[in-house]
């Protein structure tokens, strides 16, 4: 356990020092600050646009950070040969992988927390409504689980593909996981879809991680909607995320364990 904590803390330090991540974070923060100016895009829906813009920026920035942060993690260690130093110590390969992942998630969490603070500050400055501000901050909580899952996808692929391929692969899975389930639902509702296509789609739908389920911003942006058990859903979604991350890490460990380094 000490090895995992030690690798994780080192990874956090490395991540925070990486300029590319800080630039992405800075761009995200700048967009969040200028977002209120875009409320004019919708005549009577300034608040709607403000909320959706801010949450959208957090989500997009976090997704880019999660992918960029994790795709290089294992390949860089191998390329720089620092992995030999680590693995020559009493550290198992699975401990190294889990430590790296936890470090990445912690760093991601810190950056997302900073964006959430800016979100609250800008929102409070614009709206002076503490209740709405608290309400809007719920979305980034599930975004964090979503991005942790995305980081899991990227770290899984990083055990056997190059960073560039991984970047597109993880990004593609994120896009597919965000779009496929609602798209599949549309297809299911459409009686004209062929049965075979539906079956294949159904299989793909349960296998790929469903990122859409972490997008809970709609009732926050449009508060007139009635929601059932919100906390229950958040807990279930977090459990779902944890299970899928578990799958990815175990699969990653199996591959990384057999890999020549």
């Amino acid at each position: 356990m000490r090895s995992i904590v030690s690798i994780a803390s080192t990874t956090v330090g490395e991540a925070i020092r990486r300029k590319v991540l800080l630039v992405i974070l800075l761009i995200g923060l700048l967009f969040m600050i200028i977002a209120p100016g875009l409320g004019v895009l919708s005549a009577r829906s300034e608040l709607t646009v403000l909320k959706s813009m801010m949450l959208g920026i957090i989500q997009l920035t976090s997704a880019v950070i999660a992918i960029v942060l994790t795709v290089y993690m294992i390949p860089n260690e191998i390329e720089r040969r620092t992995i030999y130093t680590i693995l020559s110590k009493p550290v198992q390969r699975w401990q190294f992988l889990v430590g790296k992942y936890l470090g990445a998630v912690l760093a991601l969490g810190l950056m997302m927390a900073l964006m959430t603070v800016v979100l609250l500050a800008v929102f409070l400055y614009m709206q002076q409504d503490i209740h709405q501000a608290i309400d809007i901050a719920k979305a980034p909580a599930l975004y964090f689980v979503q991005m942790s899952l995305l980081a899991g996808v990227a770290i899984f692929f990083s055990t056997f593909v190059s960073p560039l391929v991984n970047f597109f692969l993880a990004g593609g899975i994120y896009l597919l996981g965000s779009l496929f389930a609602p798209f599949f639902k549309t297809m299911e509702d459409n009686g004209h879809s062929p049965v075979m296509v539906k079956k294949v789609a159904s299989f793909v739908n349960v296998i790929i991680p469903n990122f859409a389920m972490f997008n809970t911003q709609n009732p926050i942006i449009n508060p007139n909607q009635t929601i059932g058990s919100e906390s229950g859903y958040y807990i279930q979604a977090a459990i779902y995320g944890a299970i899928y991350i578990g799958i990815l890490l175990v699969a990653g460990i199996l591959i990384f364990d057999r890999r020549e380094v």
């Binding site: 813009m53 389920m213 997008n215 709609n218 859903y233 699969a251």
Partner: protein
């Protein structure tokens, strides 16, 4: 080693099954119910899959805002066709943009016209479907219920039970301003349901008085005065038009403005002067103002029709591309000196009037429920004060046609007649209704406008 590996593979399989169960049984149903971007969108033919994918991705509302700004530029440029997919996309991206639904409905319903400013009614189902979908997406506000009701009441101005239904739903919302609640009363009136209209005005008056007592602001005084005035007028009219007498069963013995029924004396002659151009002339004994006769030229098998109209919400889905093979022309005949003479040129708009079918029906329809108050003072709310020697109908079926005395007749035309082809290439098709009288007998050519008295039948 292999044992441990198999164990891990087993763990992966178990976790995969667990996540699938959790996802499909618990999370996904809740997400689609509570968190999905849009619920119950009408099916959206006319959208390509790429547009649909964008609609499901993040940044929905922001993209919707940007697109709507773009649509505004198209409005200014008069490029109306370009606006249609934008409206649809914006409503899918952000189904809570009420203004887009409302403006979209108005645009689709009103702005597509031919060279002579007759609107393309084939788009009405699309406009109404958008309103239906918008109200489903935004059930907490009265706005889109009202807009859809307004489309029936003002644009379609027919099948008034539909307007009543939507206005009643709008009225059930607390956020509907009192001034707009009057529109429900107007819908009741046009539907011939005067009892409900009186009840509603009393209720609105009580509410306005109550509000005035708690807040004697000018607008509250004004609101109460308007409702009181409307109620006064309504009650006076209900007596003068014999409505109250009918309720009491003493109509036959009393003298009311609606007695005796006035013969509107409708006759018409239709000449296909050139290909896709028709001239309609005829007689109508009523005042020059406010007595427009509806004329419709449509495919004989045009779907969902009733006498003198169509049930425009019978089509399903927001279809941005209405049937381009269908023809439905609607216009109104203006009366001067008890005569009308109108040229209807459909030759410049072949996409709106394709005339691909073989047979066509030309309908003439006058519904006293659509008439303005000064005409209804004679004809009554349900046509009890009007008659027509040849074309009075009180047996029409379908929504909005029950319990009302209308003038209705049809003529049959063929494609060859309208296009002046085949046997009609050298022959001028002329059709006449029963009892047609030419204009000379009505004094239509006189400079002085003759205003006939509606008091007695000629």
């Amino acid at each position: 080693m292999a044992k441990g590996r198999n164990l891990l593979l087993g763990v992966i399989a178990a976790l995969l099954a667990g996540q699938a169960a959790l996802q499909q049984l618990l999370l996904w149903p809740t997400w689609t119910k509570d968190y999905a971007p849009s619920k119950g969108l009408d099916d959206a033919p006319g959208l390509d899959p790429g547009q649909f994918l964008i609609a499901l991705a993040g940044f929905r509302e922001m993209i919707a805002g940007i697109l709507w700004v773009r649509a505004d530029a198209f409005f200014d440029a008069g490029n109306y066709d370009a606006i249609l997919p934008i409206i649809r996309l914006v409503t899918i991206l952000d189904p809570h943009q009420i203004d887009v639904y409302a403006t979209g409905m108005w645009h689709i319903g009103y702005n597509f016209t031919d060279e002579e400013q007759r609107s393309d009614r084939r788009y009405l189902p699309t406009a109404l479907a958008l309103g239906r979908e918008g109200s489903k997406q935004n059930p907490s506000t009265y706005e889109l219920y009202f807009e859809t009701g307004w489309m029936w009441l003002h644009k379609i101005d027919d099948i008034y039970p539909k307007a009543v239904g939507w206005m009643e739903q709008a009225n059930a919302h607390d956020d509907m301003p009192p001034a707009r609640r009057n529109m429900l009363a107007r819908a009741y009136e046009k539907d011939g349901d005067i009892e409900k209209m009186i009840d509603l005005y009393y209720k609105l008056y009580d509410e306005a008085e109550k509000k005035l007592k708690t807040d004697p602001a000018y607008q509250n005084r004004q609101g109460a005065d308007v409702i009181e005035n409307n109620l006064d007028n309504l009650l006076v009219r209900s007596v003068q038009r014999g409505y109250q007498a009918k309720k009491l069963g003493i109509y036959d013995s009393g003298d009311y403005d609606t007695k005796p029924p006035f013969d509107v004396g409708f006759t018409a002659k239709v000449t296909v002067t050139e290909a896709n151009i028709i001239r309609i002339e005829g007689t109508w004994n009523v005042l020059p103002l406010g007595t427009r006769i509806k004329v419709i030229l449509r495919d004989e098998n045009f779907p969902n029709t009733v006498a003198g109209g169509a049930i425009w919400d019978a089509w399903k889905g927001v279809n941005l591309d209405p049937d381009k093979d269908a023809t439905y022309m609607q216009d109104q005949l203006y009366v001067r000196n008890q005569h009308f003479n109108k040229k209807i040129d459909m030759s410049k708009d072949p996409t709106m009037y394709p005339f691909t079918g073989k047979d066509y029906t030309l309908e003439f329809f006058y519904n006293p429920r659509s008439a303005p108050p000064h005409i209804q003072d004679k004809f009554g709310w349900n046509g009890e004060g009007m008659t027509d020697k040849n074309f009075l109908r009180d047996d029409l079926k379908g929504p909005g046609r029950e319990g009302v005395r209308c003038m209705y007749t049809t003529l049959h035309l063929t494609r060859d007649m309208i296009r002046r082809q085949g046997e009609w290439a050298d022959k001028v098709p002329v059709l006449m209704t029963k009892g047609y009288k030419d204009s000379a007998s009505t004094g239509a050519d006189q400079d002085v406008i003759i205003i006939p008295s509606l008091r007695g039948s000629k």
